[in-house]
C-alpha cells in the first residue's frame, strides 16, 4: 500500500507551518511570562546555611589530598562529630524540615504556578489542534511504522488502507512538542528550554535536598581515605626540573 498520495499544497500552508510557528511563539511567550511571574522568594536562612555547609564539606572531600593528615582529621571530626558536628542532623529534626517545606504556602504557590504555566498552554494548543485540524491527513513521516501505531497517529482519519506514514495533525503537534525543545534551548539561551519533566523533578527534589544530602555528605566524608599528595608533588617537581636541565 505504498502509493504516494499527493497532498494539497494548502495543507502545507495552512496547517503545518502555522502550527509550528504557533508553538514556537507560545514557547517564547511562556518563557517571558515565567520570567515576569517569578516571585522573588526570600531564601530561607536555614536552607542557605545547610547548602553552604554541604559545599564546604564537598570542597573538603575534593581537596583532601592537599592538606596534611592531621588537619584533615581535625576537619573531618568537626563535620561528622556525633554531638555537634555540622553534618549530623538528629532524626526528629530531619522530618520536621521536610514537612515544613511542603506546607510552606509560598513554596507551594510557586510550584503550582510553574506547573500551571507548563500545562495550560499545552492543553489549550492541543484542544485548538483537535478542534480545527482534525479529520484529514496532515503530513507524511519519512519512515515506516508498524500498524500498531495507526490508532495513535491517524486519529481523525477513518480509512484503514492508508499507509501508516500518513499522519494526522495531532501527531504533528506531538512531534513539534518534542522536537522544538532543542530549538528553544538554542534561541532562548541556556536552560530555559521547556523541559517540563526536568523542572518537575527539580521542584519535587527541592524539599528533600537539605536533609538527605547532609546524611550523604557525612557518609562520604567518613569513607574518604586521606592521600596526601605532597610526596608525589615533590617527585613530580624533580621530574620536571630534570627535563628542563637536560
Amino acid at each position: 500500500m505504498a502509493e504516494d498520495l499527493v497532498l494539497d499544497t494548502a495543507i502545507r500552508d495552512w496547517v503545518l507551518v502555522p502550527l509550528s510557528v504557533v508553538m514556537v511563539l507560545i514557547g517564547v511567550l511562556r518563557y517571558f511570562v515565567s520570567k515576569l511571574m517569578r516571585s522573588h522568594q526570600a531564601p530561607d536562612l536555614k536552607v542557605v546555611k545547610e547548602g553552604q555547609v554541604i559545599l564546604r564539606a564537598r570542597n573538603l572531600r575534593a581537596a583532601a589530598g592537599f592538606i596534611p593528615a592531621k588537619s584533615f582529621r581535625a576537619r573531618k571530626i568537626y563535620y561528622t562529630n556525633e554531638e555537634n558536628g555540622l553534618l549530623h542532623v538528629p532524626k526528629g529534626q530531619a522530618q520536621n524540615a521536610q514537612a515544613q517545606m511542603f506546607s510552606d504556602p509560598n513554596l507551594a504557590m510557586d510550584m503550582m504556578k510553574k506547573n500551571l504555566s507548563m500545562i495550560i498552554p499545552q492543553t489549550l494548543t492541543f484542544a485548538w489542534v483537535n478542534f480545527f485540524f482534525s479529520g484529514f491527513v496532515a503530513a507524511k513521516i519519512p519512515f515506516p511504522l508498524t500498524h500498531r501505531f495507526r490508532g495513535m497517529l491517524q486519529n481523525g482519519i477513518d480509512l484503514s488502507t492508508v499507509d501508516v506514514s500518513y499522519v494526522s495533525s495531532r501527531s504533528w503537534y506531538f512531534l513539534n512538542l518534542f522536537g522544538l525543545r532543542g530549538l528553544f534551548s538554542l534561541i532562548l539561551g541556556e536552560e530555559n528550554a521547556m523541559d517540563d519533566t526536568q523542572r518537575m523533578m527539580q521542584m519535587s527534589g527541592f524539599g528533600f535536598d537539605p536533609t538527605k544530602s547532609l546524611g550523604a555528605e557525612k557518609d562520604s566524608i567518613d569513607i574518604i581515605q586521606h592521600d596526601w599528595a605532597l610526596p608525589k608533588l615533590e617527585k613530580r617537581a624533580e621530574d620536571v626540573l630534570k627535563k628542563l636541565v637536560k
Binding site: T9, K140, D227
Partner: protein
C-alpha cells in the same frame, strides 16, 4: 562549528595537570564545555534533519544519516579538544555519546518537515 570555537578554546583546561593523580575539575569551565557540546549537537541535528528531508531520505537511511552526522560531530569535537579529552572533560562519554538521543527528536521533526515541504508538495 565556528560558533563555539572561541569559548571552548578559552574555557579552559580543568586543573587536571596540577596534580597527577587527583584530577580536580573546575566546575564552571566543565559546565560551559558541556553546554557548548549540547548546543553544537542540537544545531547539527536540526540542520541534519533539514538536509535529510531535502535529499529525500526515507526510513532507515535517514536514521543512519543522523548517526553519521553525530559521529562526525563527535570526531570533530575530539579533534578540537586535541584528543586529550581529560583536559577538558571528565570522561570520554561526554564527548562521544552525550546528547545523541536528545537531538534525535529535533532531527525527526525537521526531517519530517523538510521532507513534506519538498516532496509531498
Amino acid at each position: 562549528m565556528a560558533v563555539e570555537g572561541d569559548p571552548r578554546a578559552s574555557a579552559n583546561r580543568s586543573l587536571g595537570d596540577a596534580v597527577d593523580d587527583l584530577p580536580i575539575f573546575n566546575v564552571d569551565n566543565l559546565q560551559s564545555n558541556i553546554k557548548s557540546i549540547y548546543y553544537s549537537r542540537t544545531f547539527l541535528s536540526i540542520i541534519g534533519g533539514a538536509i535529510a528531508g531535502i535529499w529525500g531520505f526515507t526510513g532507515l537511511t535517514g536514521f543512519i544519516f543522523y548517526f553519521i552526522v553525530m559521529a562526525v560531530a563527535s570526531l570533530s569535537l575530539a579533534a578540537k579538544a586535541k584528543f586529550s579529552v581529560h583536559a577538558y572533560f571528565d570522561s570520554w562519554s561526554r564527548i562521544l555519546v552525550d546528547g545523541i538521543f536528545g537531538g534525535l527528536m529535533s532531527f525527526v521533526l525537521f526531517w519530517t518537515f523538510a521532507y513534506d515541504i519538498v516532496h509531498i508538495f
